[in-house]
């Protein structure tokens, strides 16, 4: 469904992502893990077009989308949620989801100008808020609701786009233990309903529980790939997380 | 020879712009404010300088008085206008700043009259020096000297003194600087003071150069100052200096070659727009 080939980008000398190849198959739930600064967020941004790669290409459902603007990819059903939540702060939580639910109407500015019917978008947005358990905050301005709500609102906004491929960047960060477990269940359920998901997470317990395949990124490159249990048992993966290789270099 | 002369005239203008734009860049780097009202500080410096020069006959006294008056006004504007609205969206400070500029410009007109004043004795203006086929008057030479000396002093301040180091730390991260005991408020006042002294001195120099001090003399130069700091890459000091000099030279040649098409101000902003369309982050600004 998605294929990244030889993706690289450098920020002033730092090679944040260096020659990554990856494939995501239709219907899977893949976990993308790696220590802080491994390049996970940057890789997602390259795949979704927030950043343009220095080299490499991205194909989505057989189409080369490397040059395609973000909003077009989103319209195709290829959607990213940001690691740092980006709500429209002066809109209510409901309005935040409604704008996303209306992408068919807002596709062309001139069409949007003559459309005033908000009912269909409102109903869909309300249903999504209910599903994510944040319906009680619907009419509060986004700037005044707590982070746990915003995280879920962001996922509701992404779901409103009817994604076929959803990339979630640390959706569980900042949630407490039970919230995280419940949210992870929801992610698994969305996947079961047919949405392909790539999940970036530091909460290894939850990723290994719900993901069927893991990709480990380290220093901008793919270090390991496979079934969670096997991957987590590998020494190089453990070392990457513990920062042992840096120490080894220092001792050498 | 003609080209060399154009180049020199452009460089002299570049020096004037640099004195204005350095202050704007300091303020922007620290507070993200487009400080249009710096024009007022510039004009006040010019008026004070002119009055003192005409009373005492001493240009040295005129510069000192202008620097002090300007140096007092800038921090005052910060205290009364910007400080209370720092947490508001950026256009708020910009509009307030434009308000200060418009009101003060009218204030100068009411106090000093609309037609402008001239120096009683302006020997720098009337004395020219010749080098080969080139002729520059003393004001132009002093502008170049003043700009170079003041900017060097600033560079020494920023790199060699405790206050300078504290200032740079505050620019890059106010919270961390504060936790190391730097007074952020002090640094802000100091920046406005430095910016204003430079602007005040530049005001007197431009007054001497045109032998005229008028209420609106600061506005266009401060609009161009804003163009320059944007060109340089907002908040970037070397970029600002480079842009100042470039703009001076582009204007100088442009007024000769594009005279039929557009005026001097339009040339400056045309240059700005063209550069930004090619490099949206400015000449030395960072991408991403």
């Amino acid at each position: 469904m998605l294929e990244g080939r030889d993706l690289s980008i450098a920020f002033g000398g730092v090679r944040a992502v260096a020659g990554v190849n990856l494939r995501v198959e239709r219907g899977e739930l893949a976990g993308l893990i790696g220590p802080n600064g491994a390049g996970k967020t940057t890789l997602l941004r390259l795949l979704t077009g927030v950043l343009a790669p220095d080299s490499g290409s991205v194909r989505f459902e057989g189409r080369d989308v490397t040059q395609m603007p973000i909003h077009r990819r989103a319209q195709l059903g290829f959607v990213l949620t940001h690691q740092i939540v980006r709500p429209f702060r002066d809109m209510t939580v409901l309005d935040n989801v409604m704008v996303a639910a209306a992408t068919q109407v807002t596709l062309r500015p001139w069409r949007a100008l003559v459309s005033v019917d908000t009912r269909p978008a409102r109903l869909r947005a309300q249903a999504l808020l209910a599903r994510l358990g944040i319906a009680d905050a619907a009419d509060k301005p986004a700037r005044s609701v707590p982070l746990g709500y915003l995280k879920r609102m962001q996922v509701a906004r992404a779901l409103a786009l009817e994604p076929r491929l959803l990339m979630l960047d640390e959706p569980l960060a900042g949630l407490n233990y039970t919230e995280a477990a419940r949210f992870a269940d929801l992610i698994a359920q969305l996947n079961a309903e047919g949405i392909t998901i790539v999940l970036v997470e530091h909460n290894l317990g939850e990723v290994t529980r719900i993901a069927r395949r893991l990709l480990v990124l380290h220093n901008g490159a793919v270090l390991a790939e496979g079934v969670p249990r096997d991957v987590m048992a590998r020494h190089d993966v453990r070392d990457a997380y513990l920062g042992a290789d840096q120490d080894a270099v220092a001792h050498a | 020879m003609y080209y060399v002369e154009l180049l020199l005239v452009g460089l002299v203008w570049g020096c004037t712009y640099a004195m204005m734009a350095l202050g704007l860049t300091l303020v922007y780097g620290l507070l993200r404010i487009l400080h249009v009202a710096q024009a007022t500080v510039f004009t006040l410096g010019a008026y004070v300088g002119l009055l003192v020069a005409n009373h005492t006959g001493s240009l040295a006294a005129a510069f000192v008085a202008a620097g002090l008056a300007a140096g007092a006004l800038g921090p005052l504007i910060y205290r009364l206008v910007y400080q209370p609205i720092l947490d508001k969206p950026p256009f708020v400070a910009l509009v307030a700043s434009i308000g200060v500029l418009i009101a003060m410009e009218d204030g100068f007109r009411l106090v000093f009259g609309p037609y402008g004043l001239s120096f009683a004795k302006n020997t720098w203006f009337t004395t020219s020096l010749r080098f080969g086929g080139l002729s520059l008057n003393l004001v132009q030479i002093w502008i170049a000297i003043a700009a170079v000396v003041l900017l060097l002093l600033f560079a020494l301040f920023a790199t060699r003194t405790r206050a300078g180091v504290a200032w740079r730390a505050t620019v890059s991260d106010p919270a961390i600087a504060e936790s190391f005991g730097v007074s952020v408020s002090g640094v802000r006042h100091l920046s406005f003071f430095i910016a204003s002294v430079l602007a005040g001195v530049a005001g007197v120099l431009v007054g001497l150069l045109n032998n005229l001090v008028e209420p609106g003399m600061g506005s266009v130069i401060s609009y161009k100052g804003l163009a320059i700091i944007v060109l340089g890459g907002l908040g970037n000091v070397p970029g600002t200096l480079l842009a100042s000099v470039l703009l001076g030279v582009v204007e100088s040649f442009g007024t000769v070659y594009l005279d039929k098409v557009m005026d001097r101000d339009a040339i400056a902003f045309m240059f700005l727009i063209v550069v930004l369309m090619i490099r949206p982050q400015g000449l030395l600004g960072k991408a991403h």
């Binding site: 062309r108 | 708020v92 418009i102 804003l226 005026d263 045309m270």
Partner: protein, 279 residues
């Protein structure tokens, strides 16, 4: 009577200008410090056509299209630069317009264009301007309610987030610039025919700031607030004749005071006192 009519006409023209800018800056969040340039483009476009013998209606329409076309170009600039950069670029657009017109012999250079045909009487212009203002008021209220208004809101608040939910940010910015600058062109066309004489200085930076002042005094983003701001700032110097000599002093002071004490303008005050948000 004539005097009141001309004040009413100017108030209506200012409403058109301010609502146009509000669409760009208030609704879509794109700061513009050069709105007077589009007022000028509309005026010059219409004046040239009229002097060449076209009927007034057609001339005004051409003026609008000229302004709107340059508005689209400026919109493209807004795709490259943002926020403070955009503020300075639009200021530059204003200076570029002025500096170019001043040097063009075929535009009358500093002397401007005189003897523009004027087919209507004072009542006619007043009705035309007020009609235009009402049309723009209704359009603004409609845009706010429509999906275009909601998409503008998303673009204004967070461009990147708007993109990631599939909104064509570039398209909306260009649409905002087109509508807002074409409105300024309309005001310019009416102005040119009414005064029969246009000079470059009528469209300078101070004029841009004056339009901006109407928007912020009224309350950026609020249609009714902006209308009130435009009317108030037009009437103020007329009502207080004694301030005429200190007009700019009062004007600047007012801008400063509003930003300092109620940055959300009149609309913000209404909200604070009654708890209701103005449309």
């Amino acid at each position: 009577m004539d005097y009141y009519l001309s004040v009413a006409t100017f108030a209506a023209l200012n409403v058109i200008l301010a609502l146009g800018l509000n669409l760009i800056s208030g609704f879509c969040g794109q700061v513009s410090l050069g709105h007077a340039a589009f007022y000028g483009l509309g005026a010059y476009g219409a004046a040239l056509c009229s002097v060449a013998g076209l009927p007034m209606g057609l001339s005004v329409a051409v003026g609008m299209m000229v302004a709107g076309a340059f508005g689209i170009l400026t919109g493209f600039a807004a795709l490259r630069v943002r926020e403070d950069f955009l503020a300075i670029v639009t200021m530059g657009v204003g200076f570029l317009f002025l500096g170019a017109v001043r040097k063009q012999a075929w535009l009358g250079a500093e002397m401007g264009i005189a003897k523009i045909p004027s087919p209507l009487d004072k009542w006619g212009y007043a009705m035309l301007a007020i009609g235009g203002a009402v049309a723009l008021l209704l359009l603004s209220l409609h845009v706010r309610r429509s999906w275009m208004g909601r998409a503008f809101g998303a673009v204004a608040q967070d461009e990147d987030a708007a993109r990631s939910i599939g909104i064509d940010v570039s398209g909306y910015k260009i649409a905002a610039f087109f509508i807002g600058t074409a409105a300024a062109g309309l005001a310019g066309g009416i102005y040119a025919h009414m005064t029969q004489l246009i000079v470059p200085d009528a469209f300078n930076f101070v004029q841009s700031v004056t339009i901006l002042a109407m928007v912020v005094v009224g309350g950026i983003g609020s249609t009714l607030g902006v209308v009130a701001g435009a009317v108030l700032l037009t009437l103020m110097p007329e009502m207080f004749r004694f301030i005429n000599d200190y007009k700019l002093l009062v004007y600047g002071g007012l801008l400063l005071a509003v930003m300092r004490f109620s940055p959300e303008g009149l609309a913000g005050l209404v909200h604070r006192w009654t708890g209701r948000r103005l449309a």
